[in-house]
Amino acid sequence: MSAPSLPDLAGHFGRFGGRFVPEALIKALDELDAAYRSAKQDPEFQARFQDLLLNYAGVPSLLYRATRLSERLGADIWLKREDLNHTGAHKVRNVLGQALLAKRMGKPRVIAETGAGQHGVASATAAALLDLECVVYMGEMDTERQALNVARMRMLGATVIPVTNGSRTLKDALNEALRDWVTTVDTTHYLLGTAAGPHPFPELVRDFVGGIGVEARAQCLDQIGRLPDAVAACVGGGSNAIGIFHAFVPDEGVRLYGFEAGGDGVETGRHAASITGGSVGVLHGNRTYLLQDEDGQTIESHSISAGLDYPGVGPEHSWLHDTGRAVYEPVTDAEAMAAFQLLCRTEGIIPAIESSHALAGAAKIAPRLREELGRTPTIVVNLSGRGDKDVHTAGAYFGILDQAETIVPGENT
């Protein structure tokens, strides 16, 4: 596999990726690309990034052996504890990297799109830390169902703009952020939240979150004494998954599994599984798998997990799927919620519902791998985020909220 050399200079992963954006943005993308390439070679930039990760974000995250969960699943399960990072998810790595890049480019303002609000909160955090103006676009549907995250962003000094176009969700927030950027590109960096969008974003975001896999690989060798049989991650846009996959791509013995949000089931049409339930097209600046109708109009996605509720996926995942290097499968809402509860009860860890898709996926592949290998398989699961933000959703799902609590405006419904 030659993944480390991809994408090519124009941002293509095979037939995927590239740049499908208005010409007005090309100069900014070229400048971003150049700034990123020079930052990558600059020891001072890298030192500053590593310092923030280590001393501010709490990285490297632990690789934790989940003994009781392992017993239940019949596999040796190791959790990459990204949920312990500052702001509670892997996303802090990306926003710190990009905010430093914005400073380096002399851009005083950053904009971001957000669905559930996690990337918005992370962006607002990095902007506060590095003294940048921050504007977050968020679908009106989402500002209503994620009122607490809206408040968090405002506390951190960001401006939250509810988007009332289209379906009023994440994809429309992304459209609006692109429209803002076309207008303000001289002073503004678009802090894109996942490893998708026009080149160089898929590559740049992958590299900023790529420490997850580099750390996990080294931790495996150190703590287990060998590489795992499989690595599992949830996939929406796919940044946490590409972050943990990338370092393992050359290790052919390590199976890579991406678990997409199957919603009510891919067969129902109500899902967010772009690879397993979509087809190839162009959306938000790159060619990739996406949910579209027969005319190429984007279809709205559905998932209990707001962070996976997106109709596209990063182009490198499309490429890993086509080449067969990674395997993508859907996990339904019900399967994810069962895994959510299982981790709570066996390990005392409340995972993000996003990450629960990866746990549910690990539970599915464990017996298969056991049979294939003839021994207990070792699986590293990227626990990409913590579940505090999902307590209301999960409480409502399991029917464990007291009457008074059910009227608290809170997380997604």
Partner: protein, 266 residues
Amino acid sequence: MSIATTFAKAKAENRSVLVGCMPAGFPTVDHSIEQMIAMHEAGCDVIEVELPYSDPVMDGPVIQKASDIALANGVRTRDTLKIIDAVASAGATVVLMTYWNPIEKYGVDAFARDLAAAGATGLITPDLIPDEAAEWIAASDAHKIDRTFLVAPSSTDERIAMTLENCRGFVYATALMGVTGARKSVSSQAPDLVARIRAVDPAIPVGVGLGVGNGEQAAEVAAFADGVIVGSALIRCVLEAEDRATGLANLRSLSAELAGGVRTRR
């Protein structure tokens, strides 16, 4: 009439070409045909049909809203081709503007073939840059469809030259850094951009879009551009009218006002 002939004729008359934009199927298929024919009759030299798309990142709120209405009313890609056929049959010069994904989904070569058969002379691609357009360039050559790519004030001279090499018919100069929609005043960046285009290729007609909403602004742009592209202001005539008759009347009178503007050139 081909795009080249349309621009040549206007040049001979010492005026600019008026390009009027309307989303296909807004608010319905039949009404959009009626609106486009009204625009043609009232003085729009070229009808730019916009294929409604779920995620129009280059468009401001007016075109987005009109596109959403068209899609909600069930317009399909094949309806857009029917609309083009009807408007071209009425004698208008028709170009299509579309985001890339609907074409890719239709099949690039099949789309070029059917677009030509419907009577469109060209295609404007707001989110397809020549760098990614190899398949489109081959298909549009095979079916003799003109190609209009965009240039922007932020485009480098190298990119302007590369883009012009790949355009045929006319080039779309976005007058400002932003999305579609009428503005209070004409962008000061537009004349400079047109001059930079002319410095590279003095022959290719330049259409200027973004921000033009009335006759006076059309005259201002006509002073330095070969074509004046108007969308949102025309669409608003229909979007904001109390009833259909008023909408059509406003559309005709604005088209006529703009047609006067491109003949005034100040």
